[in-house]
């Protein structure tokens, strides 16, 4: 199948790739660009393991075609830390033991970042609402919600 | 000499008979048996209740679905498990965890 040239901004870097029109953004990120931090859980947009931020909005990258990403700004879990310094969400996920197996963690981190970027001071309900598209089967969500609350507090300087 | 000594020091163990094997024991739900290992206990049960061995041993080992509890602990060593004096033995289903 003939490949198409696509240009995106990936974690702040200008990035080009060739992909088949049938390849999802998830497949492009993982198999073409080697960004395997974004995970595949269902390919039907139900689990959120493949969440990335596209132009400020959290999306399921399994439901977007690679060619649809042309000109977009994409942030994946690999783009959260600033060099050696973890993002406050990453730190708080570790401190609160908000992960067990860790397969859903990249999706939760990315979706949480998109939430805090637009709502720096969310209520517990707003956090749960924002994360309802991300499935975690290990934690029961308790420690994830607490980690997001704590990260929000820290980022607010409280 | 050594073997003789062993024989003399082995005392009786209480064996609880699984309900599906009580046809072999005439309905008895427990019995006493002699032996220093699970294998020896089963051999003694076979002497008392012919046919017993084939219901719990297959191809030289405990059948897949059965485990032996010696004094409340599932035997890690199967037929080789040592049976101390005055033990209690139960045959229970073998299970695994998740």
């Amino acid at each position: 199948m003939k490949k198409v040239h696509v240009q995106i901004t990936l974690n702040g870097e200008e990035t080009e790739f060739l992909c088949e029109p049938r390849q999802s953004l998830l497949e492009v990120l993982r198999d073409v660009l080697g960004y395997t931090g974004t995970k595949e859980g269902c390919l039907t947009g139900d689990c959120g393991a493949c969440s990335v931020i596209m132009d400020g909005r959290p999306i399921d990258s399994c439901l977007v075609l690679g060619i649809e990403a042309e000109g977009k700004e994409i942030t994946t879990v690999e783009g959260l830390a600033d060099g050696d310094t973890l993002h406050p969400l990453q730190k708080k996920f570790l401190e609160h033991a908000a992960l067990q197996c860790g397969i859903c963690t990249p999706g939760f981190l990315v979706t949480s970042k998109a939430l805090l970027d637009r709502n720096p001071n969310p209520t517990e309900h707003e956090i749960r609402y924002a994360l309802a598209g991300n499935l975690c089967r290990c934690t029961g969500y308790d420690k994830i919600v607490r980690a997001v609350q704590d990260a929000a507090s820290q980022m607010q300087g409280r | 000499m050594h073997a003789l000594l062993l024989l003399h020091t082995v005392s009786m163990t209480t064996v609880f008979i699984p309900s599906l094997l009580r046809k072999l024991t005439g309905g008895k739900d427990r019995t006493t048996a002699r032996g220093a290992t699970v294998r020896e206990i089963i051999e003694d049960l076979e002497r008392q209740f012919p046919g017993f061995r084939d219901r719990v041993i297959e191809n030289g080992d405990l059948t897949g679905s059965i485990a032996v509890s010696v004094n409340g602990e599932i035997s890690a060593e199967g037929l080789h498990e040592a049976v101390p004096d005055e033990s209690e033995i139960h045959f229970v289903p073998a299970i695994g965890g998740g």
Partner: protein, 756 residues
């Protein structure tokens, strides 16, 4: 009573950052599907959409001709495994059934059963090729309900498999019958003031791990093979694959990738042997990853069941007799956890007169696998709701009823063996005195609210583990085990070593090794890792310590027994003030005899059982049948908690799965025998928005059988939720639910029937 005991430990009981944490929050951690190798090919499987059919022929020629396709295989490419049993770890397995479950030979037994596999240069081409394979089936009548499958005229899945109770062969779908009987149940029921008898139907449910099964295999022309896979047991995967392919186990190296959840479902093999055969055929590495639909249709869920429970109690609330009958779905091959169901169902209680019958029944559904305390959750739905009803009829508080009957040290279990030191009554007491149980029930406008309680029991497990501990020249230590880390066991093992060696948790580096780098280690399951592998690590660290004492003695030219060790410092008891830190000594190892490494391999006794008691408040919308969880508290005897955050995490995760099982999750099959809801949209697991915070109370009754008191914590928390929620729904609505899930349509119907 103080729930937590004061520790004498420095590291155990603290909450360090897990060692694999940074890799997992930055996306660096490598899971099975992340593995890439030069020349990698991609494999896909063709699966039956018939629930029961004979395979007459398979034509793969058109698929083979498609450009990009490198090979197509069927069962004919696999060795024909003879019937028989083999031991794997502690557990018996049937290699023939294992083989036929990986790829069907003559007949398919469920929707999703693999019949062929394709390998191609891209996953898309492999998928296209699947459509070109022609399979000629002779469709057979199917049976999917245990009660139907036990009928004499039911279609037989595996002719010649069954045995009657007399041990003689018989054509039946009943693969096994378990029975416990003691005392005199007729006399027991005659002595009862009240008797409750109810029947329950529970649905098949899936573990629901977010990471689909995967396997990357590389066959080498020297006959050595490597498999990278997300599995609960590297050795378990290796040994099963070797059995299915009739190869010596040593010809296969399994490299365990990070694993995205398992809960029992990643103990069996699926793609490992298929990817290896495809690699052998092509000479290239082959990656296979399941779709979610494949995971739901054809990996091992946990059985649905039909359960009858009859129990009686006297006016003082003492249970006088219990009679239980249960049939569990095995799936297409034998091996449901009905034995565990029988052994756990009334085991939290001291009951003199009992009879329990359990049946393992073949049905045209996927071969079931373990799922967190396998067999116990559906069983407890039966017993714990009947107990609630007995307590209610006698006017006794349900926790008090459990206290009256609760098992303690010396109580005989249903299967006969007596308990050692257990902490069941402590969990009941802690539940009674919990903030939650003492609080007023919250009111919700337009909803009926209710509170329920339930308990659960799980054995926990020992099995085989190996560990090495090596001292680095800078005074830190490396801990190598063969235990796959699913939820924080690198941290718990490192903390145990740190405690022994007087190091911080951060000064110990835990590694999960492949099958050529450590001694045999059984799978991560049965809540065994921190207990059994923790014991191996403890012993290996002690081994290191005694070697270090020898080195210190050597450098001081004294006898070893004149050296003591405390708080990271070696002291010579005879020369008075001579002392040296572990760090200082570590730097001197090259000149006192060379490196120091400790090792231990164990198959430990002294397994400490786990008990849990849960309290839940629900709000029921009587119009729609929707149940909201308002508040949830899980109390558990966890033994010594090594890393309390991950102990709490196990409890909270188990509760969330139990809530899903209680309220929504179920396999829905059509009349055609096909799974109707093979996706996460329709197989509805709890989301963040469905749950409240989950409160935990850690009761620590140390296990006397473990060097630091570990019991194992992972499994028991899934057991009580469905029964506790059913009891809460009754308290809210007056409706006794007997079927799982208690989904909105079912509950709505029950409420309508009650209200006439």
């Amino acid at each position: 009573m103080a729930a937590r005991q004061e520790h004498k430990f420095k590291v155990i009981g603290t909450r360090p950052i897990r060692h694999d944490g940074v890799d997992k929050v930055t996306g660096r951690a490598q899971y099975g599907a992340d593995i890439d190798l030069a020349g990698l090919l991609h494999g896909k499987t063709l699966r039956s959409s018939h629930a029961h059919a004979n395979i007459k022929s398979i034509d793969t020629s058109a698929a083979e001709a498609l450009s990009g396709v490198k090979a197509v295989i069927t069962a004919q490419d696999f060795p024909n495994i003879e019937p028989g049993m083999a031991q794997m770890g502690e557990l018996p397995v049937n290699p023939q059934h294992m083989s036929l479950n990986c790829i069907a030979r003559d007949k398919v037994l469920y929707d999703g059963h693999v019949v062929a596999a394709v390998v191609a240069t891209s996953p898309h081409i492999a998928e296209e090729a699947l459509k070109l394979i022609k399979v000629d089936y002779e469709v057979l009548p199917h049976v999917q309900n245990v009660m139907d499958a036990m009928n004499d005229d039911a279609p037989i899945l595996l002719p010649g498999l069954g045995k009657g109770d007399d041990g003689e062969p018989k054509d039946t779908n009943v693969a096994n019958h378990v029975q416990f009987e003691r005392g005199d149940i007729a006399a027991g029921f005659a002595a009862a003031e009240v008797i409750v008898e109810r029947e329950f139907d529970t649905s098949m449910v899936h573990q629901g791990y977010i990471e689909p099964h995967n396997s990357v295999a590389q066959y080498s022309s020297d006959g050595q093979s490597t498999i990278w896979v997300s599995t609960q047991g590297a050795f378990t995967a290796r040994d099963q694959t070797a059995m299915v392919l009739d190869m010596p186990a040593s010809k296969i190296k399994v490299v365990p990738a990070e694993i995205g959840g398992g809960f029992g479902g990643k103990i069996p093999i699926y793609f490992e042997p298929i990817s290896l055969i495809l690699s052998k055929k092509t000479g290239k590495p082959v990656k296979m990853v399941m779709s979610r639909a494949e995971v739901l249709k054809a990996t091992g869920p946990t059985p649905g069941s039909h359960i009858r429970v009859k129990m009686g109690a006297d006016k003082d609330g003492k249970i006088t007799a219990a009679e239980v009958w249960m049939a569990y779905e095995a799936g297409g091959f034998p091996g449901s956890p009905v034995g565990a169901g029988c052994m756990t169902i009334i085991t939290p209680y001291d009951i003199e007169n009992l009879k329990i019958d359990g049946y393992d029944v073949l049905v045209n559904k996927p071969k079931t696998a373990a799922y967190r305390a396998p067999g116990s959750t559906n069983a407890a739905m039966g017993s714990e709701t009947v107990i609630d009803e007995l307590a209610e009829k006698l006017g006794i508080d349900p926790l008090e009823f459990r206290r009256i009957n609760g098992a303690k040290e010396g109580t005989a279990q249903a299967a006969g063996p007596k308990f050692g030191r257990i902490g069941y009554l402590e969990t009941v007491e802690a539940a009674k005195t919990s903030d939650h149980f003492k609080s007023e029930l919250p009111q919700v406008e337009g909803r009926r609210v209710g509170r329920g309680v339930a308990s659960g029991f799980w054995f926990n497990a020992g099995f085989q583990s190996s560990a090495t501990v090596a001292i680095n020249s800078d005074g830190t230590a490396n801990v190598v085990t063969g235990s796959i880390d699913i939820g924080g066991t690198r941290a718990s093992c490192a903390m145990i070593a740190a405690e022994v060696l007087g190091l911080t948790a951060e000064e110990v580096h835990p590694v999960v090794a492949d099958t050529e780098s450590i001694g045999h280690t059984d799978m991560t399951g049965g809540s065994r890792v921190t207990f059994a592998t923790g014991t191996a690590v403890y012993d290996a660290a002690q081994d290191v310590l005694s070697q270090l004492k020898e080195r210190a003695a050597k450098s001081w030219k004294v006898e070893t027994d004149q050296v003591t060790f405390q708080d990271g410092v070696f002291t010579c008891t005879t020369n008075g003030n001579e002392s040296m830190t572990l760090k200082e000594l570590s730097g001197k190892l090259p000149r006192t005899g060379g490196p120091v490494m400790g090792r231990a391999s164990v198959n430990p006794r002294g397994v400490g059982p786990a008990f849990a008691t849960h309290v839940v408040d629900v709000a029921v919308d009587e119009e729609t049948g929707k149940v909201d969880i308002l508040r949830y508290t899980a109390v558990q005897d966890v033994g010594t908690a090594i890393h309390p955050s991950y102990v709490e995490g196990q409890m909270q995760g188990g509760v969330a799965q139990g809530i899903g099982w209680a309220l929504n999750e179920e396999y829905v099959y059509g009349d055609d025998g096909r799974l109707q809801n093979a996706g996460f949209l329709d197989y509805r697991m709890p989301t963040c928005l469905d749950l409240p915070m989950i409160e935990t109370v850690l009761v620590e009754v140390p296990n006397p059988g473990h060097p630091v008191g570990v019991r194992g914590v992972g499994e028991v928390p899934i057991i009580p939720p469905p029964a506790a929620i059913a009891n809460a729904i009754y308290s809210a609505t007056g409706v006794r639910m007997a079927d799982l899930p208690m989904s909105p349509p079912r509950l709505c119907k029950a409420i309508l029937e009650k209200n006439g």
